[in-house]
């Protein structure tokens, strides 16, 4: 990895510390130390702790990653498409765990910004799933695809929360993939009789 600018080192340090100890639990002194800069440099660069926090949120947002991860899914059957998307969705969240931790800790303090993030997050995933289910749907079923999409996203999101945030069990990747595969089958059973 290349050397980071002073600014980026501060953002990285703040990102990690905010995710581990929350906004109020982290002091600017700690952040400066972790970034190997003086506290004065931190304030010269960002003005205040709050503005730094906002830059961290912007800089580390999961939304661009999510957009990238759900592009270009080209497979021939619904099972493969859904499984592929489920994995991408899941592992994108894993790679953005710190960001999700921050939004959890600060959902009340910064509710506007964070609600906005989750709104994008949820509608984007749901719409994508609906679009895909529509393509493959049996014509003689009238299942509510939006509800099925919500259910699918919910299972996967909960799997992530349970393993990565709440219980931290470090489950093997193959086991995760098997569960995701089962979840796909549950969905498939719902749209094809």
């Amino acid at each position: 990895m290349g050397k980071l600018s002073t600014r980026d080192r501060i953002i990285e340090a703040a990102y990690t510390l905010f995710s581990e100890k929350g906004y109020h639990g982290t002091s600017t002194r700690e952040i400066a130390k972790a970034a190997s800069v003086s506290e004065v440099t931190l304030f010269r660069n960002f003005g205040s702790k709050e503005l730094l926090f906002e830059k961290v949120l912007k800089n580390k947002s999961i939304i661009p990653d999510l957009l990238a991860a759900t592009k270009d899914v080209e497979q021939y059957n619904l099972n493969d498409v859904l499984l592929s998307l489920a994995k991408r969705f899941y592992y994108t969240m894993v790679s953005k765990k710190k960001f999700i931790m921050i939004t959890f800790s600060e959902i009340n303090q910064y509710s506007e910004k964070i609600i906005d993030i989750y709104e994008k997050f949820i509608t984007q995933i749901d719409e994508l799933f609906v679009k895909i289910l529509l393509k493959y749907k049996d014509d003689n079923t009238n299942s509510d695809l939006k509800t099925i999409a919500m259910a699918f996203r919910g299972m996967i999101f909960d799997l992530f929360l349970t393993n990565e945030i709440f219980l931290r069990k470090n489950i093997e990747k193959t086991k995760i993939n098997n569960i995701l595969s089962s979840y796909v089958k549950i969905i498939l059973n719902s749209i094809n009789k």
Copy 2:
């Protein structure tokens, strides 16, 4: 409602404030003011802010409510049993929203205690669902009931998170019940071919 003791007034005030502003974001002065007691009384009763926090967690835990809510489900078909349980699960979480908010905010700060809570929470619900699915399962299917139970809990938990914590949309109860009903059908499709 009857008058609360000094101790209980402090716990109530702390419960609300911790859920709104987090542990570090709430001062003992604020808590005392909200409880209409002097700060000295707070410290005389609980010793320290941290001990008060622990009492709040203990006093307001969702676990006993969850145990109570999932007892005595007597219905004649699986659809009704699952729907009834899904509703109880969902609305218990709604009634304990503040508690869940606190665990979210402080999951890193008090990880041991909170992981313990979620471990109980998750295993309890999953085991209950598995037990019920087993009773009604078609003998000729070999679906993995534990995975199906996880999926079911996941959908419902995510529905709660999305509506109550992340988006706060105040959706009508009938709409929630319809979604829960659809979720039950998704599960039923998975265990009966």
